[in-house]
């Protein structure tokens, strides 16, 4: 039997899946790797550890599910988080750690560029919001603030390009990942001259551009042997997690949008044209030359509910976050929709879409003497989802969204999914225990292999069996409270700025991922 393996290089770790050619999961594994915050604004990962984690998982997946049954691996397909940057020298050796999407070191540069004419034209050309997450700004930061590293750099890669280079020796980046760098003109699908100029590099500093269906060369001999894979095993460059999650939910075509709620979240649509926006609120990334995945990201999603649980959950079993979250959700379900008038602004980590305000902060609003702990629980979940709704609502100004799908660890919790349906007043489709990114990678591989005629055909085969229908009464309640939510989110602009400034002066700076800074062992010279 033939199989397809997908490798997802995610924010907190690597996931590998094995599928049969009908898209059934044969096996899967995950492996964590850490994010280091040597400075509060920095968010970095060790490329070697990501590589070793990938190899370890791939090898174990093959040995457990593939080799004993004599399955043949037809294809290995990659997906990855967007916006990572790794500088390598002329021998391909990393110069420092990989910088992840959550890194904010270039915030000053981003602030300046965002408010300039160049910023506006670069956004229109590249589709990537002008934000510190963008590799455009990270590379510019390295050029100006880390001159030694810049001088030694032969190429600026993404984490995926690095891993693929380790395995095959090729320097390639796919259209999707490239379109999230802020350096690619998404209309001509070539590197944007003005962007390269701003970053201070030439096209030679970047890996070769490749469509998502590109075969990224042959596995090196040593890996063929250690993994037990034949030389002809196809290594597919693949796409980004955002694009593949959208494809994996079958969101190709008009009238559909998909919501992802993991630690962070996003609302996305797919189509043959870009979303234009004066206020630069949306991203437009490429799946193929004529297919754009557009939408808006939020910083504050499942991670905020984890924060709440960490502070106020019961933890009857030590470290059992899931059980504690489950108990809180049961508590929240006893409170009527609208939390009896308690509202929560979830901006604990600043916010991206749609308000794009790094100074935004959280608040409970409307508190009265009758509110109990359970109201706070429900209000917290409602606040996180009002924020998701606010992204969907702004997308709705340009696209007529008739139905929704939801994926991600938090989005697929039934209580949350129902709330999304009620807020949007749209039916919501979902499936339990599945992983949209990997299914997207499977569909991409199967299309490349000729199993489907096109990505459209592949997307049409996706079935999301669970449907949540909106409750009209709940919708009316949420709509009324959402009005206040939306007003507060912009009305508090000055106060957000004032309190963020005070917090910076007096308190500890906030970090995207709560963990202690790591002090690294000094290496022998």
């Amino acid at each position: 039997m033939k199989s397809i393996i997908t490798i997802e290089l995610g924010t907190n770790g690597v996931r590998v899946f094995a599928f049969d050619l009908d898209g059934r999961v044969i096996g899967s594994m995950k492996g964590y790797h850490p994010t280091f915050h040597t400075e509060p604004d920095m968010s970095e990962q060790d490329p070697e550890q990501i590589f070793i984690t990938t190899l370890y998982l791939l090898k174990n997946l093959l040995n457990e599910y593939i080799h004993p049954k004599k399955h043949k691996v037809a294809c290995i397909c990659f997906s990855a988080s967007m916006h990572s940057v790794l500088a390598v020298d002329k021998n391909g050796n990393p110069l420092g750690y990989a910088i992840t999407w959550a890194d904010n070191r270039a915030k000053k540069e981003a602030e300046e560029l965002r408010h300039s004419a160049l910023g506006k034209s670069l956004y229109a050309a590249t589709g990537t919001p002008i934000h510190p997450m963008s590799p455009l700004l990270k590379i510019a930061w390295i050029k100006h603030r880390d001159k030694d590293r810049f001088a030694l750099t032969s190429k600026f890669l993404s984490i995926k390009s690095y891993i693929v280079h380790q395995l095959t020796g090729e320097y390639l980046t796919d259209y999707s990942i490239a379109s999230a760098t802020g350096l690619l003109n998404i209309h001509t699908v070539s590197w944007e001259t003005d962007a390269l100029k701003y970053a201070g590099i030439t096209a030679g500093h970047l890996p070769g551009l490749a469509p998502v269906f590109t075969s990224a060369g042959r596995l090196k001999k040593a890996y063929q042997q250690s993994l037990g894979l034949p030389a002809e095993t196809k290594i597919l460059i693949g796409s980004s997690d955002g694009c593949l999650a959208t494809l994996g939910d079958g969101i190709k075509g008009e009238g559909k949008a998909t919501i992802t709620i993991e630690d962070s979240g996003a609302v996305r649509v797919m189509g043959s044209s870009v979303l234009k926006d004066e206020n630069m609120r949306f991203f437009n990334y490429l799946l193929t030359e004529d297919c754009y995945v557009s939408g808006g990201p939020t910083n504050n999603a499942g991670n905020i509910f984890e924060w709440f649980t960490g502070q106020f959950g019961d933890f009857a079993n030590p470290y059992d976050m899931e059980n504690s979250m489950q108990q809180l959700i049961e508590e929240a379900s006893k409170v009527p929709a609208g939390s009896d008038g308690l509202l929560f602004l979830p901006y604990l980590l600043g916010e991206r879409a749609p308000i794009w305000n790094a100074d935004a902060r959280g608040a409970y609003f409307g508190l009265n003497i009758k509110h109990e702990r359970k109201h706070f629980v429900r209000a917290t979940i409602e606040g996180i989802l009002y924020e998701i709704y606010s992204i969907g609502k702004t997308l709705g100004e340009q696209r007529n969204i008739k139905s929704l799908s939801v994926n991600g660890t938090f989005g697929t919790i039934p209580f949350w999914t129902q709330m999304i349906a009620d807020m949007f007043n749209r039916p919501v489709h979902t499936r339990q225990r599945s992983h949209s990114v990997s299914i997207g990678a499977f569909l991409l591989s199967a299309t490349e292999m000729g199993i489907y005629k096109s990505l459209d055909d592949a997307a049409r085969t996706v079935e999301l069996p669970d449907v949540y229908k909106p409750d009209k009464q709940h919708h009316a309640i949420y709509a009324a409270y959402y009005n206040i939510f939306e007003k507060l989110s912009t009305k508090l602009f000055d106060e957000f700025k004032a309190i963020a400034t005070l917090q910076q002066e007096h308190g500890h700076p906030i970090k995207n991922i709560p963990s202690k800074p790591i002090t690294r062992k000094k290496q022998k010279l």
Partner: protein, 295 residues
Amino acid sequence: MNQFVLQHGKSAELRLFPHILEVGMKKNGSIQLNTFPSTISEGIRMYYIIEGKFEWRIDRHPYIFYPGDVALVLPGAPFGSDNGILEIGSFTWIHLHMQKTTGGHIAPGKWSGLSDSEGAAIGKILSFNSTPILSRFSEAGKILKCIHIELFGQEIGYQTRINHEITELLIQATRQMTRQNHSGRDFPKTFMHLEEILRQNLAHQWTVEEMAALVGMGTTLFNERVKSYSGFSPINYLINIRISEAIKLLRRPDISVTDIALDTGFYSSQHFSTTFKKLTGFRPSEFRKNHLQNK
């Protein structure tokens, strides 16, 4: 109880207890200058606050101590207050001599009744957890009081009981420290803390029991939580860190493969080579050759 100080080599009461360097109790009725200067001791020091509020500096960082708190000072760390000021209040303390293990860590001596591995684990945990305040730790006050009474009472069996109580104090302090640093709520934070210590001491031959104890967990729960959080068993996760660090070192021409093997915690270059090749398909020397060439 009245104020007192007993010192090793000076006080007859300590003749049977060479591991107790100093033990005492102080009641201070008025603010005094130049009485509590910064000093360094070769032993581990614990100060339990009975009354008052004290501002002390441990290892150059200032801390404030309230009744019920314990200041824990590791061997070699300077401890005292600025200008030698001693505030109003009372406290009791004990200084204990600790042995140095071959790995350079501290451990209590034979007197303690702890097994070698438990003693070493306790020493390691006390050294790695860098919080010098053990908060709301009234148990320590009770144990110290009991030690004082036994020392002066000298009833039958007092030698054994005192050694028992000191052992109890070390065990309780270790547990208090891990509990205080790891609330049982935030596993990612706990795991990061563990990772930090592993990376800083990669050459050490870690056991699962030691890793679990470091974060205040039993091994069963620890194995389960690490596996569900990271996807790896604790030992496999550690091996991944080792290989990743080794790769970084292999990319540099100036360190021998044997040194890399030992620095990253493999017990021989053979062991390193086998593990490395199993995972990466390359022998370390081949990997190095491939990555040092100009392309």
